[in-house]
Amino acid sequence: MSQTITIDPVTRLEGHGKITIHLDDQGQVADAQFHVTQVRGFEKFSEGRPFYEMPSLMARICGICPVSHLIASAKACEAIMAVKIPHTAAQLRRMLNLAQMVQSHALSFFYLASPDLLLGMESDPANRHIFGVVGAKPELGRAGVNLRRFGQHIIELLGNKRIHPGWVVPGGVTEPLAPAKRDEILAMIPQAYADIALALKAYKQIADTFKAEIDVFANFPTNYMGLINEDESIEFTDGALRLIDSKGAILEDGITASRFSEVIGEAVEPYSYTKFAYYKPLGYPEGSYRVGPLARLNIAKTMGTPLADKELVEFKQLAAGPVQSSFHYHHARLVDMLYGIEKIEQILSDPLILDKHVRAIAGVNRLEGAGQAEAPRGTLMHNYKVDENGLITWANLVIATGQNNNAMNRGVLQAATHYVKDGKFTDGVLNRIEAVIRTFDPCLSCSTHAFGQMPLAITLLSADGEMVDQVIR
């Protein structure tokens, strides 16, 4: 008789998810699915709101990466306004986005993933959390706390709030950077370098002990997408998207936000509220791709900062072409953070960084606009349509987690097939299957929304558990 193993909820994620593993009559894994079980519906209830409210509204989607939503949303609004924002405003936003990336990656690596990495996949579940890490490796615990606060404090200094700062607005930012705040950020940077160096060293020392996990944690060829500058350096806030195939060849280059929907489609599966993004010319699911730290490092030819460039060279030695195992997201996340710290330091040395001209003003000049940025988890795209009064008539968001959705599902199936034998499993096995999802650091709150067909399944079960009817729409 076939069986279903359910992991509900999947822990140490941003949001609530569920995994089901279907076994065949012989107790072998037949299929596995990762379900995102919550719905937010931001696209729908933003209809009718003035477009200039959108950044603040959209930032409420998430408490972890609100800055990415602020920036992508503001850029979509600026496309509607048809303005180019002042240089200083662009630099300040870039710094804000990098600060968010550092704090979010610190949360992912130190708080969510490091219990598995430092204490072991088979360690006591009651101890697999940040307190357990602190007990075992206090210096790494301190580094994690410090790096998270480094990013959060920069966000607070720039936006006056740690979460949901209202500083980013259509046209730029609401106020320039004060010299005292610049100096305060600069004073934090030496310690941030020390903390990330410690983390990189510690990670490299233990990574080799996870060879078995590296082999089966979503380790398969896919396409990759991320923002990149004209000089092929990594970019988080501006630039254009590049899509490469599993061998590293460029499939599509220079994808601006206005072209995003021409190139990227979204498929629906009945078991999840999160959609499945794909590259249209290849269709679904063949056109599925990965985004986020692993994709960014696979795509970039250079980081554009000296220390991160050295790390990129080392990272690229992990494979002959693109690095395929999602386990290496952890490593890529640390390189991202190092880059973020270096880039923030570079931005603060910009002679125009204290300039007072930080906002462009305009009304509705186009009836549609799109904006894109790199969120910590990967590419984020906002697309709005407005009427002549600037009221939203339609909105769509394509979120990083949706773009990784296919790879996450395939990764769960790959790990489950490897670890679950004869219908038997242990806590360590289930934790490894969850850990596959954790490598992507998905944000489930961000990734669910109402656009097009809502994947909703209603199942009617008899008293003895037999399904007697099911409605799927």
Binding site: T11, R12, G63, L107, Y111, L112, P125, A126, R128, H129, I130, F131, V134, G135, P138, E139, G141, R142, V145, N146, R148, R149, F150, Q152, H153, I163, M188, P190, Q191, A194, D195, L198
Partner: protein, 180 residues
């Protein structure tokens, strides 16, 4: 390499032989930290932020008092706590009767079960500060008011509204006693 912390920041506790290192991102040692928690969109759960705002205005001119308000208490607050001489935690309580004010000592305690990623309790934060920075505040108290309702809403229940003046008085007396 780790930076040695400024000696004024932390007090060593216990007799551990472990070398103490820490990083101060703010250079001010706080004599009294008021740390509130709550969600202003969840009726009585907003009493923590309300009392934090009251305390901020009340003690505005006193640089020895620092007031922080968070929707959730997260592990990064452990250093703020470790660098404070006294800490008053403020939260609503689902266990107490609606409007009941309780003021009680908090001891450091490691989490009993798993997750401590998005929210930590006062005992866990004290324990984390002790583990990471080898320091405990000399005084740590928790002030709670029993919640009448935590449904969606921006108004307090009658019981909590009635309790707020007494809670303010308790905060003021506690803080002034700590500051001598």
């Amino acid at each position: 390499m780790w930076l040695s912390h400024p000696s004024r920041c932390l007090r060593r506790v216990g007799t551990t032989a472990r070398t103490i290192y820490t990083i101060r991102m703010t250079s001010i040692t706080t004599r009294c930290l008021i740390l509130a928690c709550g969600n202003t969109l969840r009726s009585d759960d907003g009493l923590g932020p309300w009392l934090a705002q009251w305390a901020e205005e009340k003690f505005l001119s006193n640089p020895e008092i620092r007031v922080l308000n968070r929707q959730q208490w997260t592990p990064d607050l452990s250093e703020e706590i470790a660098c404070s001489e006294s800490v008053l935690f403020i939260d609503c309580s689902a266990e107490s009767a609606p409007g009941e004010i309780r003021l009680f000592p908090v001891e450091p305690s490691a989490p009993k079960d798993g997750l401590a990623t998005h929210h930590s309790g006062a005992p866990e934060l004290l324990a984390l500060g002790l583990e990471l920075y080898n320091s405990l505040p000399s005084h740590a108290l928790m002030l709670t008011i029993g919640a009448g309702s935590t449904e969606l809403g921006e108004r307090f229940s009658e019981a909590v509204t009635a309790a707020l003046p007494a809670a303010c008085k308790a905060i003021e007396e506690t803080v002034l006693q700590w500051l001598g």
